[in-house]
């Protein structure tokens, strides 16, 4: 993760007047091209997620559910350039709780900046912005089919400012405190804690806060179109190469390593999930295939920079077992995490952030030991555990506060009438499928 150090220098440099930056780093066209491609790929994950979730809900809620993801593109797309990037990647403010730099508001101060990694800071800011879009969109899966559109828009606006930006700053800003834990920081290559754990546990908290859908779990709530879900899972897999391999902010060996383990973990996750289903229920399902792919992708996200192929295989398989088990447990406990945002993103993220410690490559340990003599598995495990624990605590507490506020001010839970008729017709005045006008 050399790019973090690289960014540290860039941020120090940002304070200097332009004239003093005579020796500005040259643009590396290879790295820039891959970062721009990755940025595009990560955005592709959002419509992918919309299809994944859109296929899983009932016919009356397809558009409402897909709009949750698209709303994140619109809302966070604006919010990120206005204050999000400044709050995440500005220098420490409020004792390191968050970052802040007035110059980064509307990205004004980066108009001429080439980062020392050889990429324009615009590309980096846009790449990071896509992560800020998909993270709140993931939460929608936990509260599908029962949330108002304006409540959702208000919720994600506040959630990005008060949960995502601080976490992003802690983990990825060079002066963030997770970044500086232990010998080589808490390992979170592409967002296991920031993206998946934070959104997964936020989803669980929000699902418990809102309560279950009417009729859950007695009424059967079957997916309306698993074809969408499979296409969505496929788009997510493709986009994830940008998500993970793009996070190297380079186009080199590290990039290829991240891409390889991403492929391997997703495939191992899918295979394991389908095997488990075949053994338990005698039928391999397409939903199981899609879920396994996702579990594998989530688990490898924090680990993509430090594990090798063997570790990726193991993590993918372990994540599929853990998420599969968590969903069975959910059905026993009876809480309504509608599309398993916690079951997959929360569980897979936690398994990845902790589990990766056992599979870190030797050269990483050697570097860590050079910085802090005697640095080993237990010490790193503590760092990872602390990062996971702090993320869970922070995300749950803040999510509940925001949910409470939004419920009181604009209303978050949809009324019973809206829920019965469906979000599509009641909130958006539309229908997903062409039955409204046969001619």
């Amino acid at each position: 993760m050399t790019w973090k150090r690289v960014l540290a220098l860039a941020i120090l440099g940002a304070g200097l007047p332009l004239a003093a930056q005579g020796a500005a780093p040259a643009n590396d066209s290879g790295a820039t091209a891959w970062l721009l491609t990755s940025t595009t790929l990560v955005l592709l994950m959002v419509p992918g997620l919309a299809m994944f979730y859109g296929g899983l809900v009932r016919t009356k809620n397809v558009l409402g559910t897909m709009m949750h993801s698209f709303a994140a593109m619109a809302v966070v797309g604006v919010l990120w350039t206005v204050v999000g990037y400044a709050l995440s990647f500005g220098p420490n403010a409020l004792g390191g709780l968050i970052g802040w730099s007035r110059g980064l508001v509307l990205l004004r101060s980066i108009d001429h900046t080439i980062l020392p990694a050889g990429v324009p800071e615009y590309a980096f800011a846009m790449f990071q912005g896509k992560f800020a879009i998909i993270t709140p969109a993931l939460i929608a899966g936990a509260v599908a089919e029962r949330i108002t559109f304006r409540g959702w828009v208000a919720f994600i606006t506040l959630w990005v400012i008060f949960v995502y930006c601080p976490l992003c700053h802690w983990v990825w800003a060079p002066d963030g405190f997770f970044f500086n834990l232990g010998a080589k920081g808490a390992v979170d290559f592409a967002g296991g804690t920031v993206v998946h754990i934070s959104s997964g546990v936020a989803g669980l908290a929000l699902a418990l806060f809102l309560g279950a859908r009417h009729g859950y779990p007695k009424t059967a709530m079957a997916p309306n179109n698993l074809t969408f879900t499979l296409i969505g899972a496929g788009l997510l897999w493709v986009g994830w190469f940008g998500f993970n391999a793009g996070s190297s902010i380079a186009s080199n060996l590290e990039t290829a390593r991240a891409l390889t383990v991403t492929q391997v973990a997703a495939a191992a996750g899918a295979l394991t999930w389908v095997l488990l289903e075949t053994i338990r229920d005698d039928k391999p399902t397409s939903l199981g295939m899609a879920s396994g792919i996702l579990a594998g992708l989530v688990v490898i996200t924090p680990a993509a920079g430090v594990v090798q192929v063997g570790g990726a295989l193991a993590l993918g398989a372990i994540a599929a077992c853990a998420c599969f088990g968590m969903i069975i447990l959910k059905n026993r406990l009876g809480y309504d995490d509608s599309l398993d945002a916690f079951g997959i993103h929360g569980t897979g993220g936690i398994v990845g952030a902790i589990g990766l410690t056992f599979f870190i490559r030797d050269s990483w340990w050697a570097e860590a030991a050079a910085k802090a003599p005697g640095w080993g598995l237990l010490a790193q495990l503590k760092v990872q555990g602390f990062a996971v624990g702090a993320t869970i605590l922070f995300s749950v507490v803040m999510t509940l506060l925001i949910a409470f506020l939004v419920e009181k001010v604009v209303g978050l839970r949809a009324s019973e009438a809206v829920e019965r008729t469906g979000l599509d017709h009641e909130i958006h005045g539309e229908r997903a499928y062409g039955l409204n006008n046969l001619n």
Binding site: K60, R420, G429
Partner: protein, 113 residues
């Protein structure tokens, strides 16, 4: 034997179905249909008001013995109606049913229902 066909608002399906099951009428066929009655629904598409001339509804079809006609019809009326009744709440058609045959056994008449 009677054949009861009811056209009801989509959102009332769950409620109607739950009430019918409670009244021990479990055998049912449900389909999505489009049609035109007195109801007009105005849809706004890109700021332009459009009146679709066919509105989506749900059709339920129930075959029952004569004794069950009353309770079936009453249950549907009670649960499919919006408040005190609105245009668009739907209709129920009741027909005499000439024959009913269970394919599996070849049974005919009331016992096949």
């Amino acid at each position: 034997m009677k054949l009861i066909t009811a056209i009801i608002p989509e959102e009332k399906l769950d409620e109607v179905r739950e009430a019918l099951i409670e009244a021990e009428i479990e055998r049912i066929t449900v389909s999505r249909v489009s049609g035109h009655g007195r109801q007009q629904e105005i849809v706004v598409q890109r700021g332009k008001k459009v009146v679709p001339n066919l509105i989506p509804k749900v059709q339920i079809t129930i075959a029952c013995n004569d004794d069950f006609e009353g309770i079936t019809v009453d249950t549907i009326i009670r649960t499919a109606r919006h408040g005190k009744g609105e245009v668009g709440d739907g209709k129920i058609f009741v027909q005499d049913l000439k024959e009913c045959i269970r394919i599996r056994t070849g049974e005919r008449g009331g016992q096949a229902i």
